[in-house]
Amino acid sequence: MLLLFLLVLIIPALLSWPLGLAMTRMIDPDEASGYGRWTARIFRKTGGEGAVEEQEWKGYLFSMLMFNVLMFAFVTIVLALQQWLPLNPDGKGPLEASLIFNAVASFVTNTNLQHYSGEVSMSYFSQLFGLMWLQFVSASTGIASVAALARAIGGKKTVGNFYSDLMRTSFFVLLPLALLVALLLLAGGVPMTLDGAAVAHTLEGATQTIARGPVAAMEAIKQLGTNGGGFFGPNSTHPFENPSFFTNVVECFSIVLIPMAVVWMFGRITGRMRDAAVIFSVMMALLLLKCGAAIWLEGAPAAVFSGLPVELASNLEGKELRFGSSAGALWAAVTTATSNGSVNCMHDSLNPLTALVPLAGMWMNVVFGGVGVGLINMFIFIIVGVFICGMMVGRTPEYFGRKVETREMTLALLALLVHPALILGGTALFAATPAGAATVLNTGAHGFTEILYEFTSAAANNGSGFEGLGDNTAAWNIATGIVMLLARYIPVILPLAIAGSLAAKKPVPVTAGTLRTDTLLFGVIILGSVVLIGALLFLPVAVLGPVADHLTAIIH
């Protein structure tokens, strides 16, 4: 168990330091350096002056939204035409319109909620040139946003160029790492072939069609870019996505690596490494807490076995034996802390109380979080923390030497409230109407949790699911599609607006009365605001769902 923690939590935490440095050099290079110049030259040739010029935050945001609109359009076309496009050895047919909308919204927003099963519905072309491409560029979009935020907080009037950031991140950070991980996965036995499904004649004389495909390539970027959208329906539980204990470690490791490194990149770009260390510690503390809780709760046997002649074991429903019993719970904690959303066990079949861990992770959405955007969410909690401290000592709050005033706080509170509004509003609507109530698999409190989980996952841009939910309906596809889009762009636009507004102010001198944001004390304050504001908002639904589920189960 300790070794597992070491492999998938401690080692990536150590490696995140050098990776953060490397990412800073790759994404935010010295313009006079050789790398800075030759990449700028190529980008200028590719996209014209607009791909290299310095942008203020509004221009940067505008470029980002424009590119994201084109991402959306391009992949919509790819999916809509898949039956006529190449690389379709198994002859996948056309997709239903609301499903296309949902799938594209899901992958553009780095969510990867999947209302389809890859091996049933998608051609290899759709997977590779549609969805997997989005796994690269949506991750780059997130990382670029945090680079821009860091530059603005660091006090710059211009925040870089979106296109340059996007390409530097995609080509020089994500691509090399994805290649490395893909090679490790190949070595671990993950398939990579363009051949169609194999047909086997089993030992008992039946016929078994075995779906396969170019899995290794997609698997690598799926994990590294906090995407989480698998090649197959059951994601990393599938033996082709995750064939061994070794690949499981590689994949779990890849989930947390970049989200961790982004914190250090933020520290380097802003020039405030101590602040980054405080943020990192808060996130790490929450992550360890989540992992410990999940493993402990999932060690209990399935409640339904009480009184039956079944050997005592941890809950194995929805789990794969090759990962060992605790690896599923650990992964569930990690994948929802980081907004990744891939799974190596079925979350619907977790013990009722264990389900609180992934839910809480997505409610807070800042425990490293999605690549780039996790830190942006944390920025909002920091602003709130700074504000609360300012109120307590009766001083105008400051962050990085700039006054936090009404305008910033208004934007911060809006950004904070979007998340619970989308989750609770959506859950209420769907739990009260047949649109949601008729689609649950499990009854009672567990069914309520299925609805709650779906909206939580969409709003956190996570993408994991309580998959018992029959979510491929027009109502679910459209509702969660809209939630994902709102939950992606509002929490990027508002923080950038705050940072831009801060950067435009005159810096105030540091005095003895200035609240320092790089101390352990302030770390505790951020932790407090995350737990009290981020998680407690959801206490009522936690009681209605998982807790009620647990309490009624004991009566069995």
């Binding site: 597992l4 590719t46 014209g48 607009g50 505008f62 590119f67 084109l70 099963s117 091996e119 590779l128 040139f129 997997m132 491409w133 296109y163 995609s170 691509l175 290649l179 090679l183 190949l186 036995g189 398939p191 990579m192 072939t193 499904a197 194999a198 086997a200 089993t202 008992e204 078994q208 069609t209 075995i210 779906a211 396969r212 170019p214 290794a216 197959f232 329906g233 033996p239 082709f240 409640a303 339904v304 076995f305 002649p309 079944v310 050997e311 194995l316 429903e317 929805g318 789990k319 034996l321 090759r322 019993s325 599923g328 619907d348 079949s349 977790l350 009722p352 647990h550 189960a553 069995h556």
Partner: protein, 195 residues
Amino acid sequence: MKTIVSFGDLTRQFAVSIRILPVTVAICSGLYIIIVLLAAQIVPYSASGSLIRSENGQVVGSECIAQQFSRPEYFWPRPSAVSWNAAAAGGSNLSPASLVMRQRTEKLLAVYALKKGQRVPADLVTASGSGLDPDISLSAASFQAARVAHARDLALDRVMSLVNTHAAGRRSAVLQDEPLVNVLVLNRELDRLKH
């Protein structure tokens, strides 16, 4: 500093985006896939799905993927919520506190016709996440060994020694709670034993 986005900006940004997009597709999808596909040629067996073939070259299954076994002379895999359909995998998604799972467990227990005091290993009454888990635990294999030996008219020792050999070969995964046995590989060995 401009604060309002004029139409000129819109068309200009569109022009930049539309030029960048195909480049990212070519590199992130095209180039990347080609390199990984080339690397896959080094490991052709696993890269094409770890397919197991019979002596005459016919595919009998994949080492990674469970297939259905229901005859007494074979070891049985874990239950599958998708009936071992390897073209549409999935788990049961049942709550481990639900009545439905309780009823399913009772049905499965009936199939194993337990003797008094006997208990079934938990992996034999829980559906895996993919429905295609290729392994069972060593205790699940031992639990079934008597049935298999009886159906094949073999000595129990012989079957058990085969099971143990296979479990031992997998012990390299140090962190596993207990050794695992690949059901398809084990059953193939059993069939060979006859000859």
